[in-house]
Amino acid sequence: MKDILKDLDKAFENKVRLGIMSALVVNDYVDFNTLKDLLDVTDGNLASHLKSLEKSSYINFKKEFHGRKPNTRYHATETGKRAFRKHINAIERLLN
């Protein structure tokens, strides 16, 4: 039980961060606005959670321009994917 709890990742305790990771692990990339619609959150809220995941180097981004409009594409890093898998495994073990 103790090491199950250790495997649960603090970064994914928050619903928005969990949602961001869920979307990023099944897609090559997701852009900012799509994430916003998908999770139904405000710009500021989403940006702060993205920043915190970025700090843990779970996600990375690429800025692109569509004409003049900036468009940021986010993708999960290998570290992020591994951490997410570990987190889900821990949840599953906890529920069994």
């Binding site: 969990l18 099944v26 529920l95």
Partner: protein, 204 residues
């Protein structure tokens, strides 16, 4: 605490599905496309066998005039079926508050189109080279492969629909004279059956 994690898993699954698959495919569009296909097949049937005695021996005579007519029927059926599909799916997308044309739909359409366009061009070549009998089975096979390919990006049912279409096409190669019948089965009846299943499974 357990409830929180059960809910988390539910959320994860939901977001994964919504972010990677186009889930607003309408069952109604399948039903209507199937009916249009059956009507098209009937028109084609009466064109090919026009003026022949039902009781006697029937042979298919395809002149360049009937060939043009058949192509027109085929194009008409395709356009109408596509229009119905787009109409009902757009309607459902709006109901579910999703975007009609975004990254997901684009990916779905592109992956559907690759085998479909290749197959369509190939069938036209076969038609002009005179292998008319193979066209019906080939359209079924290519359509099935297109569905299997696109199924990764939409509802799961599309994959098994694609596999059945491929099997029908392969079996149809052994019954060349009955091309239209297999075609009605694959594009008409199967679409209606799958459309009905999906309509009731994913109500709305």
């Amino acid at each position: 605490m357990k409830e929180k994690y059960i809910e988390d898993l539910q959320d994860i699954k939901d977001i994964m599905n919504r972010s990677s698959r186009f889930i607003s495919l309408s069952g109604l569009s399948g039903i209507v496309a199937g009916i249009i296909a059956l009507a098209g097949a009937y028109l084609a049937y009466s064109t090919v066998y026009s003026g022949q005695d039902y009781m006697g021996y029937r042979h298919v005579e395809i002149t360049s005039a009937t060939l043009t007519q058949l192509l027109l029927i085929a194009i008409g059926t395709l356009v109408l079926a596509l229009a119905a599909g787009i109409y009902f799916t757009t309607r459902k997308t709006k109901k579910l508050n999703q975007k009609v044309w975004d990254h997901q739909t684009r990916r779905l359409v592109v992956n559907l189109a690759i085998p479909l366009v290749a197959g369509g061009v190939f069938c036209l070549m076969m038609l002009f080279k005179g292998y008319i009998g193979l066209v019906a089975p080939l359209t079924l096979i290519f359509y099935g492969m297109a569905l299997v390919n696109a199924s990764k990006y939409t509802l799961n049912e599309i994959r098994s629909l694609g596999m059945i279409e491929i099997c029908l096409g392969l079996v149809a190669t052994q019954f060349i004279g009955y091309g239209l019948l297999w075609w009605s089965l694959g594009f008409g009846v199967l679409h209606i059956v799958y459309g009905a299943i999906m309509h009731f499974k994913y109500k709305a």
